[in-house]
């Protein structure tokens, strides 16, 4: 498998594992120094905002406490289309940009678009496996309705 193919599969898997709530499988795709962040631009403040920021342990803690929280019912479906994969010079890392659409399907089976944005990922080979070492979710959507606890 080419690196590009492996990277596309990694990113697609990161979506499916989150969609399925299979958080340990998601974390298995993340390097030990994984850095996760959700950002949005505020035209009101004319500034960037950080909406969620965690390292790998922080995310693991978030996932662990999730079952005790009141959550929007239904399921999320993350869909990505990877647009660019650029190798970083002299490293085994790549910068990858994908466009993202998240749909929400409620308990009655009705689906609506919940959010759009981009994944700006850094991926790298670690001990023979290609892993996510950083993800920034740059959201266009700023009204997420009744909101979420789960990373997108």
């Amino acid at each position: 498998m080419s690196d590009n193919e492996a990277i596309r599969m990694l990113i697609a898997k990161s979506c499916l594992t989150l969609d399925d709530g299979d958080f340990s499988a998601y974390l298995a795709l993340c390097a030990p120094d994984y850095a996760y962040r959700i950002k949005a631009w505020s035209p009101e403040l004319r500034n960037d905002m950080i909406w969620l920021e965690h390292d790998r342990d922080g995310l693991a803690g978030l996932f662990a406490t999730l079952p005790e929280h009141l959550q929007r019912s239904g399921r999320l479906s993350r869909h990505v289309s990877t647009a660019t994969i650029e190798a970083r010079e002299n490293t085994e890392a790549y910068d990858v940009v994908s466009s993202l659409i998240v749909h929400h399907t409620d308990l009655d089976g009705r689906t609506q678009t919940l959010a759009v944005g981009r994944y700006k990922d850094t991926v790298a080979w670690v001990d023979g496996a290609i892993l996510l070492s950083a993800r920034e979710v740059a959201l266009e959507t700023r009204d997420l309705g009744i909101g979420l606890h789960v990373p997108l």
Binding site: E44, R46, M49, L62, D143, G145, I146
Partner: protein, 396 residues
């Protein structure tokens, strides 16, 4: 000790007047219009924080009572507010939520205005020579504006008593936090909620629902004796914490040590929890290191626009800002642990009242102004009833 039949379900709850609210207050279209006439068209309402207009000629657009308004900082440093409507044929003047403009030019026929609201230019004005339309009488509609502790308030009504009278002493316990160091908004987002505006505001006034949030069950409910918590209500329907509530942050995974790496806001300690709900629709809530301002604006009986702001200290080092953002997001961010849960609650109750499956909200907890007393909710509805001339328990 049994389930209730139809008539029992629809009867008023067996609690004194003022201790329950009819579901019709959330759904009835006449009540909704009445709220516009008797509350939103004349009460003072929080518009934005002064830090959102840091420079001369900065402007900030917002919605109020179904209308678009714009607050502008003049070169004289005075903040003025206008309807965001062109005097000529009513086009919306400013489209962006914020920006900087010395002059505002209407896109439609290019009339221009300055940030004192004066009409400064009418293209080919000679065409109006015979009918008396002239720029001197074509200024924007100015809306009364006042600023208290850097909070910008507006009222649509020229006859409303001054802001200080309207607020009374309700912000006294916040003056040091809000003015003791210059604050700055670092977080802003909106959510359109499928519920009446009051259903959201109730989540900020109702302490009893601490039990809904696992974070509060683990950090707040047992952090101090319930009877030592002091609540306070004010004339005009405002209410909040009288003495600070406490939080024990090590009770929740990932929250321990909150406050170790950033100084608290002026007059606060890192574990203090202080809040005030200003009638009709604004809540100011501080958790020691960070403060949130929440404003809810009716869109329809069943729809509300929630605006959420998070504030830190102006000019603080990046490291401090990052920590405050984190503290803000832990509870109140769009991916936080509390606010998304509150939204679920507000929409869930709305769903029951929408077709009168739910009939009443019970707001009867009496803990002598301590613990999880419903006194703040009762004070809100007493003012609501006074203004509308309706009993919240039997409003139609």
């Amino acid at each position: 000790m049994s389930a209730r039949d139809k008539s029992s379900w629809e009867q008023t709850p067996g609690a004194p007047a003022g201790h329950f609210v009819s579901g019709l207050v959330y759904t009835d279209p006449d009540i909704y219009r009445d709220e516009s006439d008797k509350i939103f068209s004349n009460a003072w309402r929080f518009a934005c924080h002064a830090s959102e207009l840091p420079e001369a000629n900065d402007y900030r657009v917002f919605d109020h009572d179904g209308q678009s308004l714009v607050a502008m900082r003049g070169e004289d440093d005075v903040i003025r507010t206008f309807l965001n409507v062109c005097s000529h044929r009513g086009a919306k003047l400013l489209d962006q939520p914020s920006g900087n403009a010395k002059h505002v030019t209407c896109f439609y026929h290019r009339w221009t205005y300055d940030n004192h609201g004066q009409c400064t230019g009418i293209p080919r004005a000679s065409g109006y020579a015979s009918d008396g339309v002239k720029k001197e009488s074509m200024g924007l509609r100015e809306v009364r504006t006042d600023v208290l502790h850097d909070l910008v308030f507006i009222t649509l009504d020229g006859a409303t008593p001054p802001l200080e009278t309207f607020i009374g002493p309700a912000l006294d316990r916040f003056s040091e936090m809000l003015s003791g160091q210059p604050l700055e908004v670092f977080h802003y987002n909106q959510a359109v909620l499928e519920c009446n505006w009051k259903a959201w505001h109730e989540t900020n006034m109702d302490l009893y629902h601490e039990f809904m949030h696992v974070v509060l069950r683990q950090t707040q409910v047992n952090a101090m004796p319930m009877e030592d918590r002091k609540l306070i209500v004010f004339e005009g329907g405002h209410g909040g914490s009288g003495g600070d509530l406490k939080a024990a942050y090590d009770g929740y995974e990932g929250f321990a040590g909150r406050g170790d790496d950033v100084p608290p806001l002026a007059g606060m300690s890192a574990t203090d929890f202080r809040f005030i709900n200003l009638f009709p629709s604004t809540a100011i809530i501080s958790r020691g290191t960070v403060v949130r301002i929440d404003t809810v604006t009716p869109i329809g009986p069943d729809k509300a626009l929630l605006e959420m702001r998070g504030l830190g200290v102006q000019g603080e080092p990046d490291g401090h800002r990052r920590v405050r953002q984190k503290h803000h997001n832990q509870y109140w961010g769009p991916f936080g642990r509390n606010v998304p849960e509150d939204m679920v609650a507000a929409e869930s109750c709305a769903d029951s009242f929408r077709h009168q499956a739910g009939r009443y909200q019970i707001i009867a907890r009496d803990e002598k102004m301590a613990g999880q007393d419903d006194a703040i909710l009762r004070a809100f509805y007493a003012e609501w009833g006074r203004r509308l001339g309706r009993d919240p328990g039997a409003p139609v």
